[in-house]
C-alpha cells in the first residue's frame, strides 16, 4: 500500500479478486477457533469492501475485527485467486486507526511511545534495551518476580512484564564489524539488516548469520546503527511512519552497490520486499525502491541461491522446524530453511505437525490479543512436544520468543534456535575459522 491509501481510494480490483469461495476458512486460525465468518479472511474482506462501497464506516467493531486478525497470511497461501490480503489488511488497519474508532488516551500513549518514538529511534531503543538488561542481569527482575510484585500491576502491564525478552549483553554492532571480509576474494557483496528485537534479544543470531555468509564467500556490510524497517508500523496501521523509515533506509544503503540485502527475520523480510509499493507515487525514491525490493533476500533463500557449502561438523540431535508465517505465507519460503537443516551432518530433522499454523506471536498480537495468542501458543507447543525433537528451529524473533515462552512451563523443553545458528555451529565444528581470528569462536 502507498502510505496515504485508504480502502475507498484503493484499486477496487484487489478487493474484487476475492471470489468468496471459502478456501481460506480452514487455514485461518481465528475462524478455526470461532467458526464465525466475521473472523475469517473472506468475511473481513467483505467488511473492507462494504467500507469501500460506502455501505459501512470504519466503526469500532470493524477496527476490533481488524485487530483480531493475526495477519499471518495463511489465507494468501490457501487462496486460489491470489488475493493480496496483506495489502488489504494493512490498508484496513490504517483506515481503522485514522478513523479514531479504537482510540483512547492510554492506547494513544502506548502507540506514540512505541511506534513513533522507540521504534523510530534506534539509539533510544538500544538504551531501553540496556536498562532492561541491567534490570534483568542485576537480579532485580528475578527479585521482583520472586516477591510477586508484578501482581500489583494492572493485568495488561503484568502480561507485558512477563513477556519482556531477555536482552543480550552485547548488541550487533559490538559483535560484528561494519565490514567483514571472507577468506580470499569475495564472491558476493551483501548487507545484513539487524532489525530491532533481533538486535536486542538475539544479536548472536546476527553473528552466526555473518559467519555463515563469510563461510560462503560473501563480503558483509553491517551498518552499526540501523533504523527499524517499518514492518511493525505497516502492520499496525501507521503507514506514514513506515514510509518515513523506508526512505531513511533507502538513503542509508544503496541497493545498486550490493548483490543482496540479507534479513534473517521473517517479519521484516516480508515487509522489506514491498518498499516500492509503500512509496508508490514518490518519483524520487521509485527506482531505488524497486532495486531494493529486488535485492532483498531471506538468509536461507540466499544461501540456497548461491549454492551454500555443506558443513562438515556434526550436530547429533533431533530437530524440527516451525515455519514463521511471514516466511512461508508472506514470502513463500518453505523449502530453503529445510535444505539448510538437512545439510547438517548428524542432524535428524522430523516434521512438525501443522508447522505452517501461526504460533500466536504475530508481531505484537500476543500483547494486544492475549487470549487467542495463548491458545495458539499452546497448540504449537503441544505439537512440538509430540515430536521427539530436542531442538526447534525457527527464523523469526517473535516466533522464537513466543515458542520459548510456551515451552518454558513444560518439563524438560527442547531448545529454540535459528536454522542459521545451527549451520554456523556445524561450520565451526567442521573446523571453519572466522578470518582474522585464531580460534573457532
Amino acid at each position: 500500500m502507498s502510505s496515504g491509501e485508504t480502502l475507498e481510494s484503493l484499486d477496487y480490483s484487489i478487493l474484487q479478486q476475492c471470489m468468496h469461495c471459502g478456501m481460506c476458512l480452514p487455514t485461518c486460525p481465528t475462524y478455526d477457533a470461532t467458526k464465525l465468518e466475521q473472523h475469517s479472511p473472506r468475511g473481513r474482506i467483505s467488511l473492507m469492501r462494504a467500507i469501500a462501497d460506502g455501505q459501512l464506516s470504519p466503526t469500532r467493531a470493524f477496527g476490533e475485527e481488524m485487530s483480531y486478525c493475526l495477519g499471518c497470511l495463511a489465507c494468501e497461501t490457501a487462496c486460489p485467486a491470489g488475493v493480496d490480503y496483506a495489502h488489504l489488511f494493512e490498508t484496513a488497519r490504517a483506515d481503522a486507526e485514522r478513523s479514531g474508532a479504537l482510540a483512547n488516551p492510554a492506547r494513544r500513549l502506548v502507540r506514540f511511545l512505541t511506534l513513533r518514538l522507540l521504534f523510530t529511534h534506534p539509539g533510544w531503543l538500544r538504551m531501553t534495551g540496556r536498562i532492561l538488561r541491567l534490570y534483568q542481569a542485576s537480579g532485580a527482575q528475578a527479585l521482583i518476580r520472586f516477591l510477586r510484585l508484578p501482581r500489583l500491576l494492572p493485568p495488561r502491564l503484568r502480561r507485558w512484564e512477563a513477556m519482556t525478552p531477555p536482552i543480550r549483553p552485547e548488541f550487533s554492532h559490538q559483535l560484528i564489524r561494519p565490514l567483514e571480509r571472507p577468506e580470499g576474494k569475495p564472491g558476493h557483496r551483501v548487507a545484513l539488516l539487524t532489525g530491532c528485537i533481533q538486535d536486542l534479544a538475539f544479536s548472536e543470531i546476527h553473528r552466526d548469520t555473518t559467519d555463515v555468509l563469510l563461510a560462503n564467500g560473501c563480503e558483509v556490510v553491517t551498518l552499526p546503527v540501523q533504523p527499524c524497517c517499518g514492518s511493525l508500523h505497516a502492520h499496525n496501521g501507521d503507514p506514514e511512519t513506515a514510509a518515513v523509515l523506508a526512505r531513511r533506509w533507502l538513503d542509508l544503503l544503496d541497493p545498486f552497490g550490493l548483490d543482496a540485502i540479507i534479513t534473517n527475520s521473517a517479519g521484516c523480510g516480508s515487509h522489506l520486499r514491498k518498499y516500492r509499493r509503500l512509496l508508490a507515487g514518490d518519483p524520487v525514491y521509485d527506482r531505488r525502491a524497486e532495486e531494493w525490493d529486488r535485492k532483498i533476500r531471506d538468509i536461507h533463500e540466499w544461501l540456497v541461491e548461491i549454492g551454500f557449502v555443506p558443513p562438515r561438523g556434526e550436530i547429533r540431535e533431533v530437530a524440527t522446524y516451525h515455519d514463521a508465517c511471514h516466511l512461508c505465507h508472506g514470502q513463500g519460503i518453505t523449502r530453503q530453511p529445510r535444505q539448510v537443516l538437512a545439510s547438517i551432518p548428524g542432524l535428524r530433522v522430523v516434521d512438525l505437525p501443522e508447522s505452517e499454523w501461526c504460533c500466536g506471536s504475530a508481531g505484537v498480537y500476543n500483547l494486544t490479543q492475549p487470549e487467542m495468542a495463548d491458545r495458539l501458543r499452546n497448540r504449537k507447543v503441544d505439537h512440538i512436544l509430540s515430536t521427539s525433537a530436542r531442538i526447534v528451529a525457527t527464523a523469526n524473533p517473535g516466533c522464537h520468543l513466543q515458542i520459548e515462552g510456551g515451552l518454558a512451563s513444560r518439563p524438560c523443553p527442547p531448545r529454540v534456535t535459528h536454522p542459521v545458528s545451527l549451520l554456523a555451529a556445524a561450520y565451526r565444528r567442521g573446523g571453519w575459522r572466522r578470518p582474522g581470528s585464531s580460534i573457532a569462536s
Binding site: 474484487q16 467458526k35 466475521q38 473472506r42 473481513r44 467488511l47 459501512l56 466503526t59
Partner: protein, 462 residues
C-alpha cells in the same frame, strides 16, 4: 410476513441460549456464498448446537412466518445459501461432530455441519473410504453436500453424494423432526423419503444428521497424463477406454485456454500448443490396476495422444496431477471475477460441447477456460470477467445462456453438481420441462406450505 419490529428479539425469547448475530459487522460476512455477484443481507444469523435447537428455530419461523435459509460453510456455487430478505440464516457450522464410524456395517454417522474432509479422514482412520470429493471438501459441510448432491472428481466410477447417503435426520418446516433410512442396504418400507431431501437445496427441510455408506479403500492406483492436439482425440480416448470395459476413477481434462493459464501461473512445463491434456487414473487391486493402466496407455496412443507420461510412484503421480489441481486457481487469477459453471452432457457429446463453448467464447468475445470431468461429461466452463463492467457482463450472460441451451439440446443438463439455487433458476424450466417444475412445486407445497424454507431458490413458489 415478518413480525413487526426486529424478528431476532422474539427469536431470542423463543430459543433461549441460541447464539444470534444481528450487528451489521456480523451480518455482512454472511450476505453471500461462493457464487459471484449475489448478495443479500439477512436479518439475523443463528448457530444451533443441536437438532432440538434447529427444531425450535423452525417452530419460531412457522409461528412468525419468517423465512429461514440453512447454511453450512457457504461455499455453494449457485447461490443456494445466499440469504433472503428479512430472513434468518441458520448456520450449522457448530454442529460438526462425527458421531460414529461402524466398521461392521460400513457406515459413518455425523452431524450435518461436519466438514467433508473430516468425514473422509474419519473413514480413512478406520481403514475405510468415503469417495465423494467435491472441490471445496476441505471446508464444505457434509450436510451442504447432501443438500446440493455434490459431485467431485470420482463421479464416473464412484458416483456422487447421493450414492452414499443411507439415512438422514431432517427437521421439517414447523419444527417436526423425522429420521429416514437406516443401516440396512435393503429397505423398501414405503417411499424412500431420504432421496427427496438429497439435492433439495434446503427447500424441503433442514438436514441435521447424516448416515453415510463407506467402502473398503482401493489398494493401489496408477496415474497417467496424455497430451493431444485435438480435443476430439481426447474424448475418443475416453469413450474407447470405457468401451474396453475399464472404468477409471479419474478422467480429467484441461482445454487449451486452461492449460495456458496454468502455464502462465505455475510454469509446470505443459506444451502450450496442445489442445487438450487428459489426466487418467485407475485404482483397485494391484494386478487389475496394472493391466488396466497398460490398456489405457495403449488406447490413448492409438487415439492420437502425442505424448503420454506414466507415474512410477506417488510423488510422480502428484506432479502429473499438478496441472489439474492448479487449473481453477490459475483461471481465477486472470480477471477480477471468476464464474465457475457446470454444464453437463452425455459423455459421447463432450467434444462437441467443448467445441461449441470455444465458438461461443469467440463470438461473444468472452474469455472462457474449460476443464472438468471427461468421464462423466461434467464440464466446468469458467468465465473470466469483471462484474463491474456491465457491458461485458451482458455478453457473459448471453454466452452462458447459449451454453446452457446447447447442453440441454445435446441431452445434458444446466448443472451437474452445483445446484440451481438462484443462479440457474431462470434456466430450470427449459431444462426439465414445465411438468417437472410443477411436480416440484406440489412437493414443496406438501412439505412447506408457507414457503419458509429457502424461498425463491430452485423455482419461485407462491
Amino acid at each position: 410476513m415478518a413480525p413487526a419490529g426486529r424478528p431476532e428479539a422474539s427469536l431470542r425469547e423463543s430459543c433461549p441460549g441460541l447464539k444470534v448475530l444481528d450487528q451489521p459487522e456480523q451480518l455482512i460476512p454472511y450476505s453471500f456464498d461462493g457464487t459471484a455477484e449475489l448478495t443479500q443481507l439477512p436479518a439475523a444469523v443463528v448457530f444451533p448446537r443441536s437438532t432440538g435447537e434447529v427444531a425450535s428455530v423452525l417452530r419460531w419461523s412457522g409461528k412468525h412466518k419468517v423465512p429461514v435459509v440453512a447454511r453450512g460453510s457457504g461455499t455453494g456455487l449457485s447461490g443456494g445459501s445466499v440469504p433472503v430478505r428479512s430472513g434468518v440464516v441458520l448456520c450449522l457450522s457448530k454442529m460438526d461432530k462425527i458421531l460414529e464410524v461402524d466398521a461392521a456395517n460400513l457406515t459413518l454417522r455425523a452431524e450435518s455441519g461436519a466438514i467433508t474432509s473430516a468425514v473422509a479422514a474419519a473413514a480413512e482412520k478406520a481403514g475405510l473410504f468415503y469417495p465423494p470429493d467435491p472441490g471445496s471438501m476441505r471446508i464444505s459441510t457434509i450436510g451442504g453436500n447432501v443438500a446440493e448432491n455434490s459431485g467431485g472428481l470420482r463421479g464416473l466410477k464412484y458416483g456422487v453424494t447421493r450414492d452414499y447417503v443411507m439415512g438422514l435426520e431432517v427437521v421439517l418446516a414447523g419444527g417436526e423432526v423425522i429420521r429416514t433410512g437406516n443401516q440396512c442396504v435393503k429397505d423398501v418400507a414405503g417411499y424412500t423419503l431420504r432421496d427427496l431431501f438429497i439435492g433439495s437445496e434446503g427447500t424441503l427441510g433442514v438436514i441435521t444428521e447424516v448416515l453415510l455408506k463407506l467402502l473398503p479403500p482401493p489398494l493401489s492406483r496408477k496415474t497417467m497424463l496424455a497430451v493431444y492436439d485435438d480435443m476430439e482425440q481426447a474424448a475418443r480416448t475416453v469413450s474407447a477406454i470405457i468401451a474396453a470395459k475399464i472404468i477409471p476413477c479419474t478422467l480429467e481434462f484441461l482445454d487449451h485456454v486452461t492449460l495456458n493459464c496454468v502455464e502462465d501461473h505455475a510454469a509446470i512445463g505443459l506444451p502450450r500448443d496442445a489442445e487438450a491434456i487428459l489426466l487418467m487414473e485407475t485404482d483397485g487391486h494391484p494386478a487389475a490396476v496394472e493391466s488396466e493402466a497398460e490398456a489405457m496407455e495403449r488406447i490413448a496412443r492409438a487415439h492420437g495422444a502425442r505424448s503420454l507420461q506414466k507415474a512410477a510412484n506417488a510423488a510422480e503421480a502428484a506432479s502429473l496431477a499438478a496441472a489439474r489441481r492448479t487449473a481453477f486457481a490459475a483461471l481465477a487469477r486472470v480477471r477480477p471475477t471468476t464464474i465457475l459453471e457446470d454444464a453437463t452432457v452425455p459423455r459421447s457429446r463432450l467434444a462437441e460441447m467443448i467445441a461449441f463453448i470455444r465458438e461461443v467464447s469467440r463470438r461473444h468475445q468472452v474469455k472462457i477456460g474449460t476443464f472438468g470431468h471427461m468421464g462423466d461429461g461434467n464440464l466446468h466452463p469458467t468465465f473470466l470477467t469483471d462484474e463491474k463492467n456491465g457491458e461485458e457482463m451482458r455478453r457473459v450472460g448471453a454466452a452462458m445462456r447459449e451454453i446452457f441451451e446447447k447442453a440441454v439440446e445435446l441431452g445434458g443438463t444446466i448443472t451437474g453438481e452445483h445446484g440451481v439455487g438462484l443462479a440457474k433458476k431462470k434456466f430450470l424450466e427449459a431444462a426439465v420441462g414445465r411438468a417437472n417444475v410443477e411436480l416440484m412445486r406440489r412437493i414443496k407445497a406438501a412439505l412447506d406450505p408457507d414457503g419458509l424454507l429457502n424461498p425463491g431458490k430452485i423455482f419461485d413458489f407462491s
